[in-house]
Amino acid sequence: MSAIIQGTGAATALTTLNSKKLVARSRTSLPGVDAGRRKRCIVAAGSDASKSFGSSSLLTLRHSHKLFANAVATKADTSATTTGHELLLFEALQEGLEEEMDRDPHVCVMGEDVGHYGGSYKVTKGLADKFGDLRVLDTPICENAFTGMGIGAAMTGLRPVIEGMNMGFLLLAFNQISNNCGMLHYTSGGQFTIPVVIRGPGGVGRQLGAEHSQRLESYFQSIPGIQMVACSTPYNAKGLMKAAIRSENPVILFEHVLLYNLKEKIPDEEYICNLEEAEMVRPGEHITILTYSRMRYHVMQAAKTLVNKGYDPEVIDIRSLKPFDLYTIGNSVKKTHRVLIVEECMRTGGIGASLTAAINENFHDYLDAPVMCLSSQDVPTPYAGTLEEWTVVQPAQIVTAVEQLCQ
C-alpha cells in the first residue's frame, strides 16, 4: 500500500510501517466504520504479500533499507525515516496553498466561508489572518458570480483558487466553467490564459443526502480546455495543489469529503506532483485495477483479501481524470492483460466509461478479458445508511469482480 513518490524533491519513500500507520489512523478517523473492517486491515500489509509472490516490485528496490518483517502495526518512533512531518490531508492542502501564496502574490483564494471562518473543511484555516481579506476572499453565496469573477481576474493575470463549498454547488457555475474557463484560451486565439484552480470536496459522504453527495467529474470531463485531477493521500493532495496553482491551464481539483482526516508523513522539502501522471499504488501481475479518490482505499482493502486468496493485483490510482495517463495505464495493461476500473461516479457517462473506451481503443490487442467497470449505481444517493452503502462500490464486490475476471 505504499505510494511511490514522484516529484521534484528528494525521494523520501514511505515505509510500509507508515502505510500501516496510515491504514490504522484512517480507520479510526473515519466515522461510522464497523469493527469488522478494522480487524481486517491491520492484519496484512501489501508489500509483504508482493514479496511473497516474488514480483519484481519497485517497492523492494526503493525500500531495501526498510523493515518488512512485521504484519503488526508498530509505533511511530521506530520508523526508519526521520525527515518529514505528519499531517492530515486537509492540513496538507493548506500547506500547499500557503506555500504557493507565499511564493506568488498573484495567488488568491475565493469562496464561501474561506476567510474568517477558516473554510468549512478547514483547508484555508488561518490564511485570512496571514494574507488579509483581499487575498482570502469571503464571497456571498453566488457560485455563478464568484466563479465568473475568478475567471475574469485570471484573465488579467491573477491566479485565483476558487473553492466550492461542496462540489455539487459548482453546478450553478457550470456556464462559467464550461464556456469561459475552458474556452477562452481557444476563442481568444491564445491571448488569455486562465490559470484558475477550482477545488472542493465532492463524493458520497456519510448520509449527506442526494444533493450533497454529487460527483461532478463525469459532468466536467467533456469540457475542452480544462484539466481534472483527484487527490487521495496527503502526499498527492499537497503536490497536486501546488502543481495546479502553478499550471497555466484551468485545473479542477477534486477532493473527497471522507478523506480529509487521513494522516500521512510527507517530506519537509518542497515537492510537486505531476498533474498528468498516475500513481502506482501497488505493483502486481495478475490484473490492473484502476481507481481514484476514495475508492483507492476500498480497492486496497479488497487487495488484502485478494492477496490472501492468492491473487496479485496491480493497483493504479489514476489521479489525472482529464487527461488520462495512458502511458502508465498502457504499460500496466500490457503486463497484466486484465483491467478492472473501480470508481465512485455513476455508471452512465462516468470516468470509467471514458476510460473503458480509451483502453479498448488503444490496448485492445493486449486484453485477455473485457474491461470491467464497477461504478456507483445510477441513483440519487439515498439518505438511509445501508442504502447509501449499496450505492457505492464495496470491497467485497471488488473481490468478486477480480475473481470473475481472473478465471
Binding site: 465568473g148 484573465m155 481568444s188 491564445g190 490564459t193
Partner: protein
C-alpha cells in the same frame, strides 16, 4: 478645389463659397481649443447628483467622433452584405445605431481601463484600437483574424488594449467584469472596468450577484446597460417589470444617458470612472437603438415597425447629430464630411478585399491553444514518449 484628407493631416483650402473671414476657417486636424456643447437631454439619476449637461470637447474630437462612427457604421453595413453573400456564417450581431456608446466611452477612458461586452462587439473592438483587417478576417474565419479565426463574430478580444471580449452567453460577462475590476483593485491599477450588457441581460440573476459583489467590496466597476429596448425579439416592456434599468441597482447609484449622443456618453463615462475609482460601482443606462435586427438571422421587423426604425434614424441618429454639430460650429463643411465618408467607405472596402484574400487556418490549428504549453489532445496517446512534464 483640393479635397482634404484627414489621414494626411494637411491644411484645408478655402471653399469658394465659404464665409469671408479667413480666421473662421479651421484646420481640421489640429484644432484642439475647447468647445462646450450641451447634451441633447439632461441626465436622470438615481442616488447620485448627475453631471452637468455641458460637455467640453474640441473640433478635433468631434471630427474624430464623426470619422470613427462613420467607420463603424460602414463596417457593420459591409458585414451585413458579407453575411448575405455567405462569407460570414453563424451568428452576426450588428451594432449600427449604437456607435455613440462605443465612441463616447473611448473618449472618456484610457487603454488601461478594461472593457468587456457581450456578442455585439465588432465596434467596441474597433474603438479599442482593433484593425478593420483583423475584424473582417475573424468574421470570415481566416487565420489573420484577431482570434486566429477560431472565435468568430462573438469572440473578438484585444488583450493589449484591455478589451476582454466578446462573449456569447447573455449575461455571463457580468461576473467576468467584476473579476476584472477585482483584479484592478487587487493590483492597485487605478483603472476601472466597464462591463457592458443589454436590456435583455439585465434580467439575469448573475448580474445581480455581480452587482452585490461589486458593491460589497467597492470594486471599480461601471456597469453599462446598453438599452436598445429589445431583448432579441422581445420588447423591453414585455420582459422587464421595471424598465428603469439604472434604478435596478437599488443601493448602487445609477445614471440614465441618451445613448445616441456621443458627447453625453462621454460625459457620463468620465463621471462614472471618477465615481468608481473612489466609491465603487455605478450603473449607466444608455438609451440607444439598433437599426438591424438582433442578429443577421433576425429581420428586425416582426416585432417593431419599419416606421419606428426610420423614425429613430431621422431624429436620433448619432452620426447625423455629430454632423450637425460640426457644421453648425463651422468645423467642416457638408462636402468635406461627405468626402470623409467616402474615404471611410474606401478604407472598409479595401480591408474587406484584403481579408477575402487571407488564408484559412491550417488543420493543425484545430488543436492549438486548447491548453497552454501543448498539454492536451495532441500530447497523449498510448505511446506518449514524454513521461513527465515540467511545471513552471
Amino acid at each position: 478645389m483640393a479635397l482634404s484628407r484627414l489621414s494626411s493631416r494637411s491644411t484645408t483650402l478655402l471653399h469658394p463659397l465659404a464665409t469671408t473671414s479667413l480666421l473662421r476657417r479651421r484646420h481640421i486636424s489640429t484644432d484642439t481649443t475647447p468647445l462646450t456643447v450641451e447634451t441633447s437631454l439632461p441626465f436622470t439619476s438615481h442616488l447620485i447628483s448627475p453631471p452637468s449637461r455641458s460637455v467640453s470637447t474640441s473640433s478635433q474630437e468631434l471630427l474624430s467622433f464623426f470619422h470613427d462612427m462613420a467607420l463603424m457604421r460602414r463596417m457593420e453595413i459591409a458585414a451585413d452584405s458579407l453575411y448575405k453573400a455567405k462569407l460570414i456564417r453563424g451568428f452576426c450581431h450588428l451594432y449600427d445605431g449604437q456607435e455613440a456608446v462605443a465612441i463616447g466611452m473611448e473618449a472618456a477612458i484610457t487603454k488601461k481601463d478594461a472593457i468587456i461586452t457581450s456578442y455585439r462587439d465588432h465596434c467596441t473592438f474597433l474603438g479599442r484600437g482593433g484593425g478593420l483587417y483583423e475584424a473582417f478576417s475573424e468574421l470570415m474565419g481566416r487565420k489573420t483574424g484577431c482570434s486566429n479565426g477560431k472565435g468568430g463574430s462573438m469572440h473578438f478580444y484585444k488583450k493589449d488594449a484591455s478589451f476582454y471580449g466578446g462573449h456569447g452567453i447573455v449575461g455571463a460577462q457580468a461576473p467576468l467584469g467584476c473579476g476584472l475590476a477585482f483584479a484592478q483593485k487587487y493590483l492597485k491599477d487605478e483603472a476601472v472596468t466597464f462591463t457592458l450588457y443589454g436590456d435583455g441581460a439585465a434580467n439575469q440573476g448573475q448580474l445581480f450577484e455581480a452587482l452585490n459583489i461589486a458593491a460589497l467590496w467597492d470594486l471599480p466597476a461601471v456597469l453599462v446597460c446598453e438599452n436598445n429596448h429589445y431583448g432579441m425579439g422581445t420588447a423591453e416592456w414585455r420582459s422587464a417589470k421595471s424598465p428603469a434599468y439604472f434604478k435596478r441597482g437599488d443601493y448602487v447609484p445609477g445614471l440614465k444617458v441618451d445613448g445616441m449622443d456621443a458627447l453625453a456618453v462621454k460625459q457620463a463615462c468620465k463621471f462614472a470612472k471618477e465615481h468608481a475609482l473612489k466609491n465603487g460601482p455605478i450603473i449607466l443606462e444608455m438609451d440607444t437603438y439598433r437599426y438591424h435586427g438582433h442578429s443577421m438571422s433576425d429581420p428586425g421587423s416582426t416585432y417593431r415597425t419599419r416606421d419606428e426604425i426610420s423614425g429613430v434614424r431621422q431624429v436620433r441618429d448619432p452620426i447625423d447629430r455629430v454632423r450637425k454639430l460640426i457644421i453648425s460650429h463651422d468645423i467642416a463643411t457638408e462636402k468635406e464630411l461627405k468626402d470623409m465618408e467616402k474615404e471611410v467607405r474606401k478604407e472598409v472596402d479595401e480591408a474587406v478585399a484584403q481579408a477575402k484574400e487571407s488564408p484559412i487556418p491550417e488543420p493543425s490549428e484545430l488543436f492549438t491553444n486548447i491548453y497552454v504549453k501543448g498539454f492536451g489532445s495532441e500530447s497523449f496517446g498510448a505511446d506518449r514518449k514524454e513521461l513527465r512534464a515540467t511545471l513552471p
